[in-house]
């Protein structure tokens, strides 16, 4: 490292800024921020490339394919924006860091296996919940939707339990 990275924003400042960004999104679009909706569309598109007939007849992916061009959607542009915003922020603050980030007792290979399994659980869970931490937890919670708070309760309880069972992964 030649220069040291600039500090993260204090949580209150970041939370306030995130709230303003979320409020602006509600006023522009009528809905909140998201992320997993893009993954759903990407998965439907990949499935269509690999197995067009099975995808078209699939109850869940089929409607995305019938509507045509699953990736041509607001959520795709939003996720591209997230990539741009995070890249510019990390670069300009010296916080870009090419690495396999992991706990001190976890090997690189183990970390990638955990990342894949964790990602698969999250991908499956987001479809069940009809949204992810951003779409239903943050955006749903901000509208005081009961669904948002049920989601957040499940998220935090499971997070603490699994973290205790898998302490070695990060500590």
């Amino acid at each position: 490292m030649t220069t040291s990275p600039r500090p993260f924003w204090p949580p209150l400042v970041a939370g306030f800024a995130l709230g303003i960004a979320l409020l602006a999104t509600f006023l522009i679009t009528g809905h909140g921020l998201g992320a997993s909706g893009f993954i759903t569309r990407l998965a439907a598109q990949i499935s269509e490339w690999l197995a067009p007939a099975a995808t078209a007849s699939n109850t869940y992916f089929g409607p995305f394919i019938k509507a045509g061009a699953p990736l041509a959607s607001w959520i795709t542009w939003e996720v591209i924006g997230v990539l741009i915003g995070a890249y510019v922020g990390a670069r300009s603050a010296g916080r870009s860091s090419v690495q396999v980030e992991r706990g001190p007792q976890t090997s690189r290979g183990q970390r990638l296996v955990y990342a894949f399994i964790g990602g698969a659980l999250v991908g499956f869970g987001a479809r069940l919940a009809r949204g992810c931490t951003s779409g239903i937890g943050l955006s749903g919670g901000a509208t005081l939707a009961v669904a948002g708070f049920v989601f957040l309760a499940g998220f935090f309880i499971a997070g603490f339990v699994v973290s205790m069972l898998a302490r070695r992964v990060w500590q």
């Binding site: 949580p11 306030f16 690189r108 991908g123 049920v150």
Partner: protein
Amino acid sequence: MSIPFYDGGIAGGLLSGILFGYVLEAAGFGSPRKLTGQFSLKDFAVFKVMFTAVLVTAVGLYLLRLGGVIADNAVFIPTLFFWAVAAGGILIGAGFALGGYCPGTSVVGVASGRFDAVVFVVGMIAGTTLFAYLFDPLTSFYFAAKGPDAQRLPDLLGLPEWLILAALIVIAMGGFVLGSRLERARGGPFTAKDVCAPEAGSSDETSASHPTYALKA
């Protein structure tokens, strides 16, 4: 011209996303160690940032409605399907604790150089595809225990919205104070220096337990 604009265009999507990504990165949410530090109680950034953002937006929407700027039913409110939403929250909490990210923060991880975030995204695509091909047997679970359409806490509890917002602000403040105390007791929170060095994972233990670290917090 009425607000919201209900604009689903490219420019608005990019703008929302750029703000979202920039703020998440600045909060430190590209780092899976900082994110999962929430569940070892070493770093309360996830709770603090999320709770603050929820309340800023919730109070903002409330005031805009009171002032007549937006209508009562102006924004999208998700409907509860109790079992699916609870199970989904549990799976995402479990996957987050194990894999280090949620969908939005994994995109930030990718943009700030984390290869593990790329693998996490591949895992999400696999999990989503598995769900789609299991959707038929899961359908009744997916729609079970449906709540009233777009139900909100004021409807559920029969209390005025200002009172709920005030109670949430008090809970948030209590959580902030308690969280900061727990962070300090565990040598947290994680700083940019701790988590943004290339391949910091292997040599991190020494810096994380270094005494100056706790003072910075």
